[in-house]
């Protein structure tokens, strides 16, 4: 645990050291790993220096399109990515404990880390906070409350329960209101040319993501388990920046060459089991992914949270068409898409992932705070087994807090699962 009290500085320093370590250890063998951390390190430096550079800092959650913020020269920090970084570096629990002095333990630890960090003063009070109403109560329960408590500007992108053409119109109007709030905060009008430029970067990003995701379905998997999840933070935080499509292009070309050579992440013949994480991942210990690969040849080929299915926004000629496109994006961002609305949203997306990635088994990293997913887990598990013959390992854990279910306990549940279900 760090002694640093400025968690934005800690994030910047932490990512810089990880980048340096990855460059030193894997620079030649796995250059693509360094690419991710180069971007993350630069981005976290930018976040830390935002105030110094006169840029407002917006905290957003995973369902908010970052493009609008970059277009207005506002630096977005995705709370969920920030929490993940703290959890992975062993720094989340202290903020969970601070938050639990004010809210019940069953509130999502992702929200509690943000609450605790703001209440402790270890992150600056946001210049603005935005999140969508989907996918869960915990966001709705905490973000407006901490905004009222600390009196900072706040916006909820409301979303209807069902996703239809009518709901896209609804969200588009909501985005318009968000832009008005951002204009009020910055004292600047949104520059439409800047927005179009941002959307061009965003569109190129999504083109490459879709093409790479086709390649990633290859057997053996060209991506490592860790890569299959770690791009999540990058794509959410940097959507609309010029750096991201460039990274995605390099990633695509690298993956294409690898697949053309028939090369997988694991050495030939060592990929035995293809896992799909249909919900969440133990963020506090990504080492579990490496352990699965090493111990069982079990590659985590895809993860719901990193399943970006958005098409580029077709028409970026006007403000209206861009907002309509971003509204559609809001409905399709990972987890917002699967976990809001009817349970079939999650089921259909999961079945699609399993089919496309030719998975052997599913893993539900059941975050104890995700009441809505736990509520329909049995329905999903039964459908996957009855309709597709896919077994599901159901784990109960806190994704950000190892004190609820330890890594050892998770590993022993995998051991039993593989022993019982995947023997034949």
């Amino acid at each position: 645990m760090t002694d640093n009290k400025d968690m934005l500085k800690f994030a910047a320093d932490n990512m810089t050291s990880i980048r340096d370590m990855v460059r030193d250890r894997f620079g030649e063998k796995r250059p693509e790993w360094a690419w991710i951390y180069e971007l993350l390190a630069d981005y976290n430096q930018q976040v830390w220096k935002a105030k110094e550079n006169g840029q407002p800092l917006a905290w957003i959650n995973f369902g908010v399109p970052a493009e609008l913020f970059w277009a207005m020269d506002i630096v977005p920090v995705v709370t969920d990515v920030f929490t993940g970084m703290l959890a992975a570096s062993g720094n989340a629990t202290r903020y969970i404990d601070i938050a639990e002095q004010h809210v019940p333990d069953y509130i999502c630890s992702n929200n509690k880390v943000f609450l605790g960090a703001v209440l402790s003063g270890d992150v600056p009070v946001p210049d603005v906070f935005a999140h969508p109403a989907n996918p869960c109560d915990s966001n709705v329960a905490t973000y407006p409350v901490i905004a009222a408590h600390h009196k900072f500007p706040y916006f909820c992108i409301d979303m209807p329960y069902f996703t239809t053409g009518r709901s896209v119109e609804y969200i588009s109007k909501e985005l318009r209101k968000l832009v008005s709030l951002l204009e009020q905060i910055t004292g600047r009008k949104l520059d439409i040319d800047r927005l179009k430029q941002t959307m061009e970067y965003s569109n190129r990003t999504h083109e490459y993501i879709l093409k790479t995701s086709e390649l990633r379905q290859a057997v053996p998997s060209p991506y490592s388990s860790l890569e299959a999840i770690s791009e999540y933070g990058l794509v959410l935080s940097l959507a609309g920046t010029p750096q991201l499509p460039e990274y995605c292009r390099r990633r695509y070309e690298h993956t294409r060459e690898k697949v053309a050579r028939g090369e997988g992440h694991l050495p030939a013949g060592e990929e035995k089991i293809r896992l799909i994480w249909i919900y969440g991942a133990p963020v506090f210990d990504f080492g579990i992914f490496m352990w699965l690969e090493k111990q069982y040849g079990a590659v985590s080929v895809a993860n719901m949270n990193n399943n970006f299915v958005m098409q580029p926004v077709e028409d970026i000629s006007s403000y209206d068409s861009i907002l309509d496109g971003l509204a559609r994006k809001v409905t399709l961002l990972p987890m917002t898409r699967e976990c809001g609305g009817p349970w079939e949203n999650w089921l259909d997306a999961t079945m699609d992932l399993i089919r496309r990635y030719k998975a052997d088994a599913a893993v539900f990293a059941g975050h104890v705070a995700c009441k809505s997913n736990w509520a329909v887990m049995k329905l999903v598990k039964d459908k996957l087994y009855d309709d597709m013959g896919i077994p599901t390992l159901i784990l109960e854990m806190d994704l950000f807090d190892p004190r609820v279910t330890s890594s050892d306990s998770i590993k022993s549940q995998f051991e039993r699962f593989f022993d019982m279900v995947l023997q034949d």
């Binding site: 019940p104 069953y106 509130i107 109403a133 709705v140 409350v145 109007k173 809505s372 329909v376 049995k378």
Partner: protein, 376 residues
Amino acid sequence: MDALEELTKLAGDINSPSVAEWKDGGRKIVGFFCSYVPEEVLHAAGILPCRVRAPGCAVTTEADVYLSHLNCTYMRACLQFALDGRYNHLDGLVFTNSCDHVRRVYDILREVRPDDYPLLHMISIPHKSDEDLIAWFGEELAAFKEKIENTFGVEITDEGLRDAIGVYNDSRDLLRQLYDLRKGDRPPINGAEALNVILAGYCLPRERYNGLLRRLLGELESRQGISGYRARLMIAGSGGFDDPAYIDVREELGGLVVTDSLCFGSRGFWEPVTVDDNPMLAIARAYLERPSCPRMVDKVVERVDFVKRMVADFRVDGVVFQRMRYCDLWGGQLLYLEKELNEAGIPMLSLEREYAMGGAGQLRTRVQAFLERIEG
């Protein structure tokens, strides 16, 4: 039987003789899960709206096959009743996206009991109440109206809606009168009794309910007021608070519950629907703008102000903030409510509970300590 006895008797039974009588007349009954469902629309269709509850449900074995131990026991109890066929007298169930637990009960019933009810409907409610969203909610309610009309072969007219608004506004007015009586030094009715009066309204033909309320108000004029209590309490917090036994514990110890901020209480009736040219829009506006559940993200400050206003108007000595375990919405509210009440010097007791009354001894200890704190 006096009106209070009659209402109390009706409150404890979701399928009371008056419900059975309605059904025997060949008329429809539709259950609804949340106070954001406008009963007026069902009433205008000649349908009896019944708020879905599961009083007395102590075991949820079948429901727990689907819902997990991380889901609230209120919804687990309701699902259990549904799976047990205890709602089979209902011709439909109406859900809202008011919380994660209830929206998933909708999913489960659609999947495992799709044929039990002619109508399983989800109303999407905005999380904010600006003009755009009020208009959108009006359209959502118009779609709900159409669904009712098509499912049951009835017609809902604007005139019918206006009449229904009038009938429900009468209830609201009568219940406000009842609450006004609780402001005095010697309220003629205690908190548990008042909760029963409200619960009865959720399973009675509304005109009959209004008649009983009028009779009750008359009878209370001559009832001796309650005195000698130790403190005037207010109950605030989450849904599923439909067991008067929870209030009994407080009142047995000398705390008198004089008001509340509950959806099975004041929040459900506090503000009337103001009728205008477009009755559906008037309903949409009234439901989104009234004292709110924390699902409404734009009303954090208003929600606490409502509690403070109630404290002042009813001369409350202490607020009992209770919430169902695993209710995120009310759990998150604690942060701001606690700060604001502290700053205002209003004592607050924060309690977690399950749907079925349990741990009475522990509850008594907490309440006793709270009363002692208030008494100084």
